[in-house]
């Protein structure tokens, strides 16, 4: 896997002892982290732990009441907010959504839609999209700006489990292809991307940090979320744990997905497929062709094989 991180360059954004206060209450305090090019930083934590607040402080939507937030000069941000409801009275197609905050060339729009696998929806009104399609449209919009820093606030909300894996794969491939820094927010403790370089666990303050594996075993994390959550956090590296998740919804989604995708399974590569796949990604894009286009249509299923592939790779890594 290519490594885009370059420690010599200054980070895209860095927070030093940052805190945000509202109505006399500290929403979050003492936050320290930075995001560099090619780095994926994931903020996790329970509801109200200050994840969104921290992200907003990082991109300058909120001013920190203490500490410092430094952004690289001329930093170009692509933002997918946590909540975005578009009033029915606003006629907005996916295509028009792309140029919401700045002009884009037609080709840039097409590429972003192809990369997120929703080229066929470019003329659809955003209000008619499903949860997963809408999240992809928002991601495409943020991506089309060619940002230095992509900030994704719960990008998998309203997306079922397979869609979730596919979206995480997409996020990873965006990082690999463009080398942008990614700040990801998740309350889905059971799926934290293994590609995440740093997980920061928030609960009004930074309670622990490190690689996904390190955080899932840290005593602070276990205290905050309990050992069951810790098991499920490790889902990506221990695939078998996952099928026995205590969470009813996920278990259900998983079941229905299996049912849906089994007929196609024979066509996928299993096991060692992941390596080929990842390389194909990097190479084809360095040649500038529209690999995303080919990849797009089978996203609905590809992620299933990706999940298996992932499992295989993790085993080989461990």
């Amino acid at each position: 896997m290519l490594n885009f991180r370059s420690p010599d360059q200054p980070p895209l954004v860095s927070l030093a002892n940052a805190g945000v206060r509202r109505n006399g209450r500290w929403l979050v305090r003492g936050v320290e982290f930075s995001v560099s090019r090619g780095e994926i930083v994931t903020l996790i934590g329970p509801n109200g732990s200050g994840k969104s607040t921290t992200a907003k402080a990082a991109i300058g939507v909120l001013k920190p009441d203490e500490g410092r937030v430094e952004r690289k000069a001329g930093l170009r941000v692509g933002y997918v907010p946590q909540k975005l409801s578009i009033d029915w009275t606003l006629p907005l197609t996916v295509e028009r959504l792309m140029t919401l905050t700045g002009p884009l060339k037609g080709r840039e729009i097409e590429e972003a839609l192809a990369a997120t696998g929703i080229s066929h929806l470019s003329r659809a009104e955003v209000q008619h999209l499903s949860g997963g399609e809408f999240q992809r449209a928002l991601l495409a919009r943020a991506l089309a700006r060619k940002p230095d820093l992509l900030v994704l606030d719960e990008p998998v909300q309203g997306v079922d489990f397979t869609g979730e894996i596919a979206l995480y794969d997409l996020i990873k491939s965006i990082r690999n292809r463009t080398g942008c820094g990614i700040l990801l927010i998740s309350h889905d403790l059971h799926v934290v991307m293994a590609e995440t370089d740093t997980v920061i666990c928030l609960n009004g303050h930074v309670c622990c940090r490190g690689t996904p594996q390190m955080v899932s075993q840290s005593p602070e994390y276990l205290k905050l979320f309990g050992s069951r959550a810790a098991q499920s956090l490790a889902v990506y590296s221990h695939h078998h744990d996952h099928t026995h998740l205590p969470d009813g919804r996920v278990q259900h989604e998983d079941g229905s997905v299996t049912e849906h995708c089994h007929p196609g399974d024979g066509h996928h590569h299993a096991g060692h497929a992941d390596h080929d796949h990842a390389h194909a990604h990097a190479q084809s894009h360095s040649h500038g062709d529209d690999h995303g286009h080919q990849h797009g249509p089978d996203c609905g299923c590809g992620h299933h094989s990706r999940l298996q592939g992932f499992d295989g790779r993790e085993k080989s890594r461990v």
Partner: protein, 281 residues
């Protein structure tokens, strides 16, 4: 064929309708109908103040409407009461204070009905200049502010994160609203201004495929409503302001009738599952 006063009314009314079309779209996209109403109602306080201090009427109305909208922004930020309740308080107290002040000023006799419902048939040539001059100014400003306004309508934080300035756009939008209310008061009156903002925009929604098309359509539909309303008022000898609103309502009802446009929802829901099951790997 028509009397001069009628032609003047038509020209002024159409100018106003074209101006308020895009603003009206933002009012409904941002769910600010009641907000617009509040600003309009506060115009009567502006009338009273202009009489009391012998200020220019339009300037006074503009200042009061702008002040009320800024006051609301400040109160909203405090967050003690819901916006809804704040609007209710501001709207009717401004209207009532205006009415009470007018009652105290026994030395002036004003045509209250004219202010409440407008008197488009009394429009002078100077008024026409003002409507069209002000209108062109407002439209230019809207075009200039279009992207930040639209982006912050969708999500202010998104707009801010990506380098636009939603707060500033919102402030300018409020000032434009205040300006339009000051201009429109004479034509459709304080109580009916919001309807001219909202009804044509709501009518345009059904036929619009993009925000920009909706703004243009709202202007055209508004102009059509003004024309229809004025001819109706001439023909049946009905009050002009309400006749325009009734005409606008008629167009809105027509737009609800089920003709033509069935396809859209059907097309989008029929997008099939992904065709490829990884066959080309």
């Amino acid at each position: 064929m028509f009397d001069d006063f009628f032609t003047r009314a038509l020209i002024a009314g159409i100018g106003l309708a074209i101006t308020v079309g895009p603003l009206g779209c933002f009012v409904i996209w941002r769910r600010m109908a009641y907000f617009g109403d509040t600003m309009a109602h506060s115009a009567l306080l502006g009338v009273a103040l202009s009489l009391l201090f012998e200020l220019n009427l339009m300037l006074s109305v503009f200042l009061v409407a702008a002040t009320v909208s800024l006051l609301l922004l400040v109160l909203q930020r405090r967050g003690a009461l819901s916006t809804d309740a704040l609007l209710g308080i501001l709207s009717h107290s401004a209207l009532s204070i205006g009415l009470v002040m007018v009652a105290f000023m026994t030395w002036v006799r004003i045509d209250l009905v004219g202010f409440l419902f407008g008197d488009i048939l009394a429009v002078s040539e100077a008024d026409i200049d003002l409507v069209w001059g002000g209108g062109i100014l407002v439209l230019f400003a809207i075009v200039y502010l279009w992207r930040p306004l639209l982006a912050s309508t969708v999500n202010p934080e998104l707009a801010e994160a990506e380098g636009l300035q939603p707060e500033r756009a919102k402030l300018y939008f409020m000032l434009l609203m205040a300006l339009v209310i000051a201009i429109a008061m004479k034509i459709v009156g304080i109580l009916l201004i919001t309807s001219l903002l909202i009804i044509p925009a709501a009518t345009a929604r059904r036929f619009a495929t993009s925000p920009e098309i909706m703004a243009v359509l709202a202007s055209l539909i508004g102009a059509l409503a003004v024309t229809g309303g004025l001819f109706g008022s001439l023909h049946w000898d009905t009050p002009s302001g309400p006749s325009i609103v009734v005409a606008a309502l008629g167009l809105f009802v027509l737009s609800l009738l089920p003709f033509g446009r069935r396809s859209q929802g059907a097309v989008e829901h029929s997008s099939p599952g992904h065709s490829s099951h990884g066959g080309h790997h």
